[in-house]
Amino acid sequence: MKAVSAMAGALLALAAAASAQPEIRFTEVAEASGLRFINMYGGVRSKDFILETTGSGAAFFDYDGDADLDLFLVNGSRLGYDASRSLSNALFRNEGGGRFREVTGPAGLESYGWGQGAFVVDHENDGDLDLLVTRYGKNLFYRNRGDGTFEEAGAAVGLDDPQWGTGAAFGDLDRDGVSDLVVVNYVDFEVDETPRPGEEPYCLFRGLPVMCGPNGLTPAPALLYRGLSDGRFARVEGQAIGAERYFGLGVVLGDLDDDGDLDVYVANDQTPNNLYRNDTGARGFDFTDVGLSAGVAYNEDGRAQAGMGVDLGDYDNDGLLDIVVTNFSQDYNTIYRAVGGGWFLDESFAAGVAEPSYPYLGWGTGFRDLDRDGWLDLVVLNGHVYPEVEGGITESDYAQRGLVFRNRTDGAFDEVPPTALEVPRVYRGAAFADYDDDGDTDLLATVMNGPPALFRNDTDTTAAWAGFRLVGRRSPRDGVGARLELTGGALTQVREARAAGSYLASSDPRVFFGLGDRDGPFGVRVRWLSGCEQEIEAAPGRYLLVVEPPGCGGS
């Protein structure tokens, strides 16, 4: 009888806990926040070339060092348009109180062209964040002068590659304290040499003439750069990264084999994804593509999907980083769950994210703890590539809604009402940040040929939280790559400091922990890329500055 009562009590407690889950809620506040920006990207009602389909991204970063996150929005162009008819990239300064003000001109960031992604680094470890803009055409590198202005220095630092750059990620791959860089390229593309809609079998979609590719076109190789201490970057050749051509779109860095350095994961469209295991040592860079052997190149059928966006996160709180990749419609978004030993299994269906994703064509994505319960939730933004499908010939239109998945805490997710994300838009990039510093993760979504959407997280929860802003000494100053482990209590959470990921985007590099009902001080173990390990005690409810101890790590 006693056992029965105990069980009943446990069930009641579980039921109470379930019913106590707050509704994950977003409010769209872009215009109210002062984000007046229109993205221009290729044709609106039809697109003749694949160039017109990828869209542009965004970056949250503190460009002026005032401790809040500003926002950089990338713009595109239109075929045949010159600068006089195009729209510029834009920088919005965070004025506090949830308001932004445009400062593009004064900051020296006005630029036109087929912009793709925006990626942030403190390259010279001087405390000022620099900015890389990937493009169809020469990539741009904006060096932060430290006075709120930038100078374009792509050629000077060696980053002005002219290919079609899409995703990129900075990180200290050789652990020398200076950030290195991976840029993925999409298609070796030339308008004059590309068939027009309907001219080839691969230029049809359900009988409709549409832009051609990427199948049938030539993939492009990725680029690996070593960051030099003098502020320049040097191309590194002869490595697995760049040895083969893929239709690269998304790239993210993380310690996927938990050996203390950053590995490189690339989401490729129509071609197998790559996991470049980092074995870099004293003899220089050493990468091996272990995507196939690790189980993250293909889906469970051994089939290459159409990778677009990508993120890493330990969604099952087992201490190992898992991977999410967004894919084309009538296919599913893939979750590769780490099972230890550097192996992964495609558990997309078991995780509950596959079935809801079929009607949608996914782009920006992120594992984020939206309700602060200590478990990573998942957001996916969608939008078709063909405007021509508008009008009901597909399972969803050109403009599509976003998907929000709440972590059920048992290894699976439930799709929940996406509140403001239910409005269909032609989404592309997704940058995550607590831009209003209120202790939850907000979302900036870029929209093709439209204004961006800023989704303020208004989830009504009393759950505690804590955040960490990292400053490296032997490790890169921006802290990217540091691994934090929250210890004690019922849950052990592992998070990494990361900015680049999702799709064409750079997010809040601060490390955020939802703490659920935990209160009072708690311990955090920090493992810096230098090898330095640090134990700190933290308290909920604020962002804590964590500086790498001097003389710690390395030899």
Binding site: V191, G216, G295, P356, Y358, I393
Partner: protein, 310 residues
Amino acid sequence: MIRSLTAALLLLAAPGFGAQDPEALLHSGQRWLDAGNARAAVQSFRRLVDAVPDSRSHYYLGVALLQDDRPEEAAASLRRAEALAEAPNPALALSLGTALLRSGEAEAAVRVLEAGAKHFPRAAPILIQLGYAHYTRLDGISARAVLRRAREVAPNNAQAPFYLGLAEAALGALEPASEAFGKAVILDPRNFEAQVALGRTLSQLGRPEEAREAYRAALAEAPGLPAALVGLGRLELEEGRPEAAVASFEAALAADPGHRQALYNLAAALSLLGRTEEAAAVRRRFAEAAAAGDDPGRSLSRTRSKARPR
């Protein structure tokens, strides 16, 4: 050798051989078709076309070519039959649609089958083939609509729910897919493809025991069926039994050494067991199989100009 000799003798014995009697040639070809010798049927019907180049002759030739696995030639012959026909013919529409589909011309197949379905809205085979054509061109919505109509028109036809299940699964509608596959196996318990599809869908729905049952039913009908063995292996893998998974994938490969899905998953299972060298060897086999199917595309000029803003 014996078969071709027999075929020759049969052909010699066929009424009308050597003559130009159209009816004799027609009967000869039909007999070859009934006997399963499509090549001989093609010869008879070619002579029939030479003798009487009308719609009917081209139709029979097209059907024989289709059965002889020459879909492009079949489509050409059936096109001529269509052009010469005085009125729409459901069998012709179905054959031509099938030939086009098997030639990789899904768009043309859809057009032909849609026209056929318009003239013969209760012709379930046309509707089913049209639904399948939509499915192959990744148009799940159209496939679903047409196949639902086929199911209404012919509620006892086991093909309609099977293909409807495929369309539903392609749309990610797993519950309706499992219902459709379930209906297909009730109508035709010997349809092992439907059993496998049912197993896969149930597995994706998180119902492993029912999935296992469906895979086993498929194996009872088709012992050694690789797709069913791979499905069982995946269940073992997901349930943390890589040894059992390895056995299942190896059994699948015994039946089909180049089965990509089996190779891919076997490598994963071997890796999980720490049998890294064996895993690497299997991965090489998978990579070869994958490379044979991958075509990143033809080369285009690496220069660029016009698309960039001036």
